[in-house]
Symmetry: C2
Subunit: 238 residues, 2 copies
């Protein structure tokens, strides 16, 4: 991907000089030294978004959990494992003109992480106490000072996608939600395609199924239009 | 790794014509469509063992969970996700002359897997009920008919490695245990080196720290010696 990095350095794209934060991948929440709770996220969509923003000239900070796909070149990569580490990395990476939260962050962590491996005892089952993780999207969306001009969240839903995502946008206070249906039957999770609905203050825009790279490119153009004030209510896909 | 596969096909190694089963990688136990519980296991050691056995001429059935490292060529690859799927795949792959259980199988699964994503509700924490997974190593070790002549288990411990692994060998009924210390400080988990203790009926043999490839090669030779009746109490490493 060296070509892409060179192109980005030379390009006079619509995001030239703009700092954009992208989170990607899952978080891993340790149970003990050998076990953890994870979200299914290959990091493919978040990585594609970072690439697309870079290719439009943005300076991208890429905060990534342990993803399957390698992070792109030509962006600043910050690797984390847990939701709390991701929150710290996001706060350290701000300020930014826009922030795209594509990571699948664990809602809960194990409250009582064991320093030693939990031993299996015949006939006994473990019990796990959970604690709520910090809500990174809501935290940044509701910043009183230094909030990015555009905050984009993601919603992975298995049913009632638009209703759930529209409610999530209001609850979190973010500007846009990129929602998708991650039901196993769609083949989207872990696959190369995505079918998203973009939820904005103007409603729900249902994008046709396309490659994750193409979803990323369309989203990057929409972000550029928004930051450059060229976003209109009829702004379509390119 | 095509060279290795060709070498194996041509070789007259000490395991020529012998069918050996190897399990590798972690298992993933679903919580709901987007969340799961996993073991930390890159699959590096199990993959290296399959390669080493193949290079000595064995016909290897390789049952692997979702590992970080790709499975080797020249072996029969069976991909699984959960412990129950791994058990089924192991039973289908038998009979075998030897079985090496290098996979990090989850001891427990979530008893009540959710078909829909568990929604986050402010102030509410999820509770997970667990169920015990089938014990694949004990099951094969204690087969009354058709048991492999040599059953090798693994023990990932964080303390009292030899004592825990020796007890595990007796409890499971396997022939050997390859034990290692997976405390984070050792850097073994996810790393390229391993420091193992081989527990047999003759006691504990503490191997020096070496590459995972070399651990695999030594183990493959020990397996060949055992199956060929050339294993002596003084059998050292090569």
């Amino acid at each position: 991907d060296i070509i892409g990095a060179i192109r980005s350095a030379l390009t006079e794209g619509p995001l030239k000089g703009k700092h954009i934060l992208v989170t990607s991948g899952p978080t891993h929440e340790p149970i003990d030294p050998v076990r953890y709770i994870a979200n299914r996220s290959s990091g493919a969509q978040g990585t594609a978004i970072a690439v697309a923003l870079r290719d439009l000239g943005a300076e991208v900070s890429f905060v990534t959990g342990p993803a399957d796909v390698p992070p792109p070149s030509g962006v600043k990569v910050i690797r984390v494992e847990t939701a709390r580490e991701m929150k710290d990395a996001v706060e350290a990476a701000l300020p930014a003109e826009a922030a795209v939260f594509a990571a699948a962050v664990a809602d809960w962590r194990v409250a009582t992480e064991n320093g030693s491996k939990i031993k299996k005892v015949k006939g006994e089952l473990p019990t796990l106490e959970f604690a709520e993780n910090p809500d990174i999207l809501a935290g940044v969306s509701q910043m009183e000072a230094g909030r990015p001009r555009l905050v984009v969240g993601f919603a992975a839903e298995t049913d009632d996608v638009v209703a759930h995502a529209t409610a999530k946008r209001k609850r979190k206070g973010c500007d846009w939600i990129v929602a998708n249906d991650v039901s196993p039957a769609t083949g989207i999770m872990g696959g190369s395609e995505n079918a998203v609905v973009l939820i904005t203050e103007r409603g729900a825009d249902d994008w046709p199924r396309m490659g994750k790279d193409e979803v990323a490119r369309q989203l990057a153009y929409r972000i550029a239009d928004h930051l450059n004030g060229t976003d209109t209510s009829n702004a379509g896909r390119r």
